[in-house]
Assembly symmetry: C4
């Protein structure tokens, strides 16, 4: 009865307040996958009879540039979400709601991407408004990820807990992106296309700078770093 | 042959009538994830040449408000679906169909959300009709979740069954939302925007009020509350 | 090293030709979940300024009726897909392609549903063409499911193989739906709305008539029907 | 505490740099499933009042042909992705990014499919541009899959590593598709519809030609080819 035992274990051993990490990840992965794929719905041309296709495609370069940047924004966020939750031992109800707040911003990325691209071509005051909207959603996304990360660290949900100093440093270091998007909001008022460049650079930063949860050797309730688990 | 053994176990040990809980959850999570992401497809502006973007965005505030409310309606429903099924030991064919009825309502939420938001701006009789439609689908969702919950409790599918008294109390307490949406249907005829506020309040209620399946100590067929399972 | 061992097992123990059943199911569940949710994208009203909302909603009753029927067509197909694969021990490459053929039809259901609903309102010759298109896709779906079922039975992929007689009877009994959709194709030429009723009836038939793979006691390579697997 | 132990194992036994293969697959499968289903969103007719439905359907044959070809392009790519990762023992961060590059091309397939189909009907210079665009994305997809395959082989991530000769041969043999799409790019300038035929033929090639990772007997760190793993 291995299957039934495995189902029972989390509930009785962890207590009724703990959630199922696998389902949490399946749902999150689903939202990430749908949002990243819906980005491409914005790539539409007007069809035959609206000027040459070559002209339409070159004229719509902001849509393609914005598609690539937003694709990697969501993709790299998913990689970091994945990295973080590999090191999370338990998921509680608070974490589910923190994650929902993050997804609230992820889900609007296709909308702000297409709006930004459309108004970037138009230029003027509207391009500035669209760039601010784009940077604001990125800021919301960065902030909610940082808050979720802080929640995980503070609530002791990590497999191998961080020391207070290490956790403060980790949260600060990870929060750099949320700070950088504040700069993007200001830049949006000055030169809108630069917002896309900044978003690309912050994304590249998160390819290099990982979720900072390096294991700290010590008496965790799992096996030690060098121990075999089987 | 661990893998084959694990595949065989559910069929031979549980009997051919039992379904695979993991696949049931994967499919449900997929529908929840797609529906919650499609909500944002309603967030569209008319594009350059249809008035200033800032004006369009402020004019479309009902779309943004309705997006946030419906996002949390689906998100919190997912959290409760997740909580409930963590405590379900077995899934039978009847439960699959009860779940399909719930999803029938979940899937139309993007449609009713955009319709409600569009007609809320227009006002008049149509706003009332749209609000009634929104409240009716919420009622259908609440009722089908309550019925599914009752089915699970009555059919003895819980890991740790409830006593008759506890199950009656649990179903009543959980059904409060379905009752509250009846009020929303009446309110829809009087002042449509209030329906969105009520939906938000009921959702907040379900953040606090969880699926009421507190384990009852007793001779269940799993290990006792304090027992180790490995 | 439990994790690595579990990863290695399928490949070395089953041979390189066998596929991963879990991933096969995750992909299929994803397609089913997206297709069933996209059905609701057809539920759109023209928005303020195109007649009263109440009138638009009643005028568009075929869209709502077709939504409900197609929702259960996909939902019940998923239940049967799920039932069948619970009893499948191994997935080979041929089965992946047979499944792709089934999904080819599932994926177009949102398109044929909206086309059927739109032209049903219009009536005339076009309604007949739309009804034939709808019935043809249902026929394709039914046939490819029956062929996939036959493939599973003949290739000996079931956990507990059927006797030749039982498998012939099972395939015939299960193929009833594919036969009934042939009737629907003829009916489409006579009275289009009836096609929706027939599709609903065939779906109800598949709620009652399950995938006919009742275990046959005998020397399978799994534990016997009454044996414990752990 | 089987569950907690299983969570801890990958991190402590594999080191913090290794990723969770299951989540990687769930996310990829989600993107494949959404992209393959969105293909059918391009199958729209203009609705009542735009000529007879039968005429619209026959007039739009390129949309249906392109749907079928692109469906199998994505489907067969998924089968090969699945085959490859069954033989991958570990997923590192580099592989996640290589996979994101592949998905960048997969996600735009619905867009290029509908653009190609629309302009194929229109003909002329635009049909050539659309065919080149289609072939270019296919080339990008083929190249990024081949690069990802080479990365897996070179970084020693396979369950049973290939010898240098075998890996060179395997990468070359697998890269044939990427070469063939180069031909398709040239053909696109001459006779656009042929690009669809070539894409279909390359897809058929990949149904026959599998990911070439036949196990090489030798001292791998898993059990030998004939060994039992449990």
């Amino acid at each position: 009865m291995l299957t039934i035992r495995r189902r029972l274990t989390p509930i009785t051993a962890l207590g009724a307040g703990w959630m199922d990490k696998t389902r949490f990840e399946t749902f999150s992965d689903g939202v990430f996958a749908v949002a990243i794929t819906l980005l491409a719905l914005n790539l539409v041309v007007a069809g035959p009879g609206h000027g040459s296709l070559a002209h339409q495609l070159t004229d719509r370069w902001p849509s393609f540039a914005a598609y690539v940047v937003s694709f990697f924004v969501i993709g790299v966020l998913w990689v970091n979400h994945h990295s973080l939750f590999r090191q999370v031992a338990r998921v509680d109800r608070g974490l589910l709601y923190a994650n929902l707040c993050l997804l609230l911003f992820v889900v609007v990325i296709p909308f702000i991407t297409s709006t930004f691209a459309d108004y970037l071509r138009a230029g003027g005051q509207d391009a500035r408004v669209a760039a601010v909207l784009y940077a604001l959603v990125m800021e919301g996304m960065g902030l909610s990820f940082t808050l979720m990360f802080a929640y995980v660290v503070r609530a002791g949900l990590l497999v191998e807990p961080l020391s207070p100093d290490a956790s403060r440093a980790a949260i600060l270091r990870f929060g750099v992106g949320a700070g950088a998007y504040l700069v993007a909001i200001v830049v949006a008022f000055v030169w809108p296309p630069l917002v896309l460049v900044i978003a690309g650079m912050i994304t590249a930063y998160y390819i290099v700078e990982r979720v900072p949860t390096e294991p700290v050797p010590g008496p965790a309730d799992g096996p030690g770093p060098g121990g075999a688990a089987d």
